[in-house]
């Protein structure tokens, strides 16, 4: 498995010891996945939730429970009521 591609997708960078440990595990897992091939899934629909339930909705009514200050208080950096991050445009 080419780990580099997935490191960049998941925004992580592995150290060398981590890389060798993870590569070994990943290869083992990927090898085990080959067993899926032999299962016939023609005409089978995907199942992404086990619940056989449909049409669960919320009403369109506004509720405000937690003040802005509380929600901002966890931020590593904030400025003037905004969350702050490094510049995105170079």
């Amino acid at each position: 498995m080419d780990i580099d591609i997935y490191e960049s997708m998941t925004k992580m960078s592995l150290s060398e010891p981590e890389r060798s440990e993870i590569s070994a595990q990943a290869d083992r897992l990927v090898n085990s996945f080959a067993a899926l091939e032999s299962i016939n899934t023609n005409d089978v629909d995907v199942l992404f939730t086990v619940l056989d339930i449909k049409n669960v909705f919320r009403d369109d009514a506004a509720i405000k429970e937690i003040p802005k200050e509380t929600l901002l208080s966890n931020a590593p950096e904030q400025y003037d009521g905004y969350f702050q991050a490094p510049k995105t445009l170079e």
């Binding site: 490191e7 992580m12 960078s13 899926l36 089978v44 629909d45 995907v46 619940l51 590593p76 991050a85």
Partner: protein, 371 residues
Amino acid sequence: MSYFIEDYGVRGHNAVALEDSIMQKGKQVTANSKILEGFVSPFNAAVAERLINAQFTVAGKTSMNEFGIPSLLNGQTEVLGAVKVVSDGVVDYALCNDIFGQYRKQAAENSCCYIHPTYGTVSRFGIIPLASSMDRIGVVCKNISDGFNVLSKIAGNDFRDGAMYPEKTYKYEISDKRIRIGIPKAVTQKDELFDENVTKTLGECFQTVDMELENFDVYKQVVYILSCAEISNNISRYDGVKFGYRTPAYRGVNELYINTRSEGFGTDVKLTALMGAMVLSQENYVPYYEKAMKVRRLIKNSLRFDNYDVIALPCSIGNDPYENLSLYALSALAGLPSVTFKHNGHNIQLVGNVKREDLLLTAWEVCRHEL
């Protein structure tokens, strides 16, 4: 060792320990991950709220695997906090989220019981998510009957979680049904002791039915593929911008993300995140992720609960954590309830049909009195 990450000092019969993935208003919650360091929840999880409304108190927060992901390499070496507090008699109950079976296995091994409820009967509101299609809060307890009492206080529809059955409350009562136990021979044979002793003694108290778990050989792959993808997605919110850990050293947003996440996650979480990205990536989606979702349907549809009421399974088949995942995959993939407990020196797992916890309770009572 210390049982708690944080101990509120509350004890007694109404004290319940909560795994560190269950949010409590005004309290730090980290799921044992550096990436959530310092994160204080501004609200209560539905289960915490309901426990408090039912006159229970929170004893403390128990330690856990980072985000609840067990190590595939080393297996589970230490006893998890939620099991240890109950087995050592510090509290009578602990709540935790168990997708991969580490709590179910350890509870039985440490003379406790575990109740893993039907998916969609306990609210996930305020639970640090792992794999949303499988997440559910269960109960570590000394006694399954008492454990169901606690479960009855927290189960029931919550409008803040859209993936739930509509029932507002659940009663877990002993049934007078004669229980038929399904024995998947091909699986139980993998644990010789279980196969020889447990299936025999179960046969003395229950009608047993030989059965087959179709596609059992790929249970672990299916549960792994689906869960790693969902986990990879659920943990992408941890980026050092809004809450939790932020790396001290970065130039630009991309480096902020990479350094924060590389420093904030442990190896098992990184493996899971990378595998999740892999199975969802363009070239692998169809052969892995879509395939696993289809096999999941085959597995769910292969069950025949009209022929048996409960399926008996061992709690381990050898020492390989990945192999053992197969034993806990059935309830994860089909949303089924299960209980694990120790009886006559054997660790037993019983899996029931959706919303038929009553039959698990009944089977346990029969075992307790007759075996």
